[in-house]
């Protein structure tokens, strides 16, 4: 059984105290819990996209013994540089797919400036993962990443395996993320982040058992928080295995 943490970060986040954020501490935590692999975004790439940062992530992957895979971050404001960097990295060991973050980049997910990356993913058979969240009173940029904003691209690019990170957040728009994962064969959700809604795992298991990926959001959140949440949920053990292992492999097809 190969447990995959499909959504985490490496590096100091800056906006809070993070006593554990390095790849080395991540590996130690993975070892204690029995995780085989993880897929990371580095905080440096989030700023202006992945150009210039993918070689460092490849090095992390190699130092980790092939266990910490990485995303290439696409920033629509630096489209050409991001796509060029990812074109070079497609065959590199550890390159797992593309990440977008409309809220962080302050460009709505349905903006035409995302068209090039969807086309790129389709042409190269790459999966995509996005930050998705609900409308928030105290964090208004989250409305740029509500699940429904991704829907036109999901429809237009059915060959792109697409993961709505954070299941669309804790608010009403979470229902859209679940609906999209149910209705579109290419849409999945991961449970990374503090989407700690009571009995959410049971709900997801009932509706989309083959579309749910385990993720922690390390170091923002603890590797352990969502892990036991799945292990101890009142669902069939076979579905737990799908959430922890098989569904992530269906999307990312990691060489582990």
């Amino acid at each position: 059984m190969k447990i995959i943490d499909a959504h985490l970060h490496i590096g100091q986040p800056g906006v809070f105290f993070a006593p554990q954020s390095t790849p080395e501490l991540l590996l130690a935590g993975m070892d204690r819990l029995g995780f085989s692999a993880a897929i990371c975004t580095d905080h440096l790439s989030l700023g202006r996209g992945c150009a210039g940062f993918l070689p460092g992530l490849r090095e992390v992957f190699e130092r980790s013994g092939g266990r910490i895979f990485y995303f290439g971050v696409y920033h629509p404001g630096f489209s050409d540089a991001c796509l060029q960097a990812m074109a070079e990295a497609i065959d590199w060991p550890g390159f797992a797919g593309i990440k977008i973050h409309p809220s962080f980049h302050k460009i709505p997910a349905d903006d035409p400036s995302y068209e090039p990356v969807w086309r790129f993913a389709a042409e190269h058979g790459l999966p995509m993962m996005t930050h998705s969240w609900s409308v928030s009173d105290y964090n208004p940029v989250q409305q740029l990443s509500v699940p429904a904003r991704f829907e036109k691209y999901v429809k237009n690019y059915p060959v792109v395996r697409f993961v709505l990170g954070h299941v669309g957040g804790r608010g009403r728009e979470q229902a859209d993320a679940i609906r999209m994962a149910r209705d579109y064969p290419n849409v999945y959700v991961d449970i990374a982040g503090d989407v700690y809604c009571y009995r959410l795992i049971e709900k997801l298991a009932a509706v989309i058992p083959d579309k749910v990926l385990f993720g922690s959001d390390y170091p923002w959140l603890d590797l352990r928080a969502n892990f036991s949440r799945i292990l101890l949920a009142e669902i069939d053990v076979e579905i737990k295995q799908r959430m922890l292992c098989d569904n992530a492999q269906a999307v990312y097809r990691l060489d582990i």
Binding site: F16, L33, A225, L231, L232
Partner: protein, 268 residues
């Protein structure tokens, strides 16, 4: 095919959870405010909900204490749990002691015996968390060895520090709700270092390694298990305790030992 590993991971955690006897400071009745996906927990279903998640009991609060009034929240909470067979106690909503304020309130008339803590909402109820305003309430709480709960979003860190320093005999439990406390740990941890009477509740104390770090820096007795049920999934803080890189004795304190001790020390 299910591999044996996952069965073993599940079994180990179930057994440890049972041994640790989780006792929950964050159980809520009433209509949740600000959590659109949360469904109100009927009092009649409380016992089953706790049992399903491996919780042995705990302290119950009512949303009306925040969203309607302290008095209405206290009244409905006491009525909802009257005669409850579970290991259940109450957190009553308090206000600054002010002659003429009607009860039921801490400091106004007798408390039901199940009340073992109080909570203040300075922002929601429009008063400062300052010595000159809540000092007499703090003295009242100290005389009864009754802890004060406060959500971190209901005050500011400097006010908390001044209050904790002014009343070192008062146990203050800083709750990690109703938004992530993650972004405030550069204030929370110095506060815990400076004020031994401050403790932290765990439901959203979820940053990577926070439990291990807080135990090393401040001691396991400073962490109080809370779930924030039914807004939050109890298995999240349970998982952080089960898999923490600390001793089983420390886990037992965090899971329930610390809170049981606070509850048992209250003088009615």
């Amino acid at each position: 095919m299910i591999e044996a590993t996952i069965d073993s991971m599940i079994r180990d955690r179930q057994q440890l959870r049972e041994r640790l006897r989780f006792f929950d400071a964050g159980i809520w009745l009433g209509p949740p405010a600000g959590f659109p996906n949360a469904v109100e927990l009927p009092p009649a279903e409380l016992g089953a909900a706790l049992h399903e998640r491996g919780l042995t009991g705990g302290l119950v609060s009512h949303w009306w204490g925040k969203t309607v009034s302290a008095q209405d929240g206290n009244r409905v909470l006491a009525a909802a749990l009257e005669g409850c067979a579970e290991e259940i106690y109450l957190i009553w909503t308090a206000l600054p002691l002010l002659p003429g304020d009607e009860g039921p309130l801490p400091g106004v008339g007798d408390l039901p015996p199940q009340v073992r803590a109080v909570r203040l909402y300075p922002k929601a109820h429009n008063f400062p968390l300052a010595d000159w305003c809540v000092g007499s309430l703090c003295e009242w709480l100290i005389a009864r060895r009754m802890p004060l709960f406060i959500q971190h979003t209901e005050t500011d860190w400097s006010s908390l520090q001044r209050l904790a320093s002014a009343f070192p005999a008062l146990t203050i439990v800083v709750e990690s709700q109703v938004q992530k406390i993650l972004y405030h740990t550069r204030a929370l941890f110095p506060l815990m270092g400076a004020c031994p009477n401050v403790r932290v509740e765990l439901s959203n104390f979820a940053g990577q390694g926070f439990v291990d770090y807080a135990v090393r820096q401040f001691g396991a007795e400073r962490l109080i298990f809370g779930s924030f049920l039914p807004m939050n999934e109890p298995l999240v803080p349970i998982g952080m305790v089960l898999d923490a890189n600390i001793s089983e004795e420390e886990k037992a304190l965090i899971a329930g030992g610390n809170l049981r001790r606070l509850v048992s020390e209250v003088r009615s």
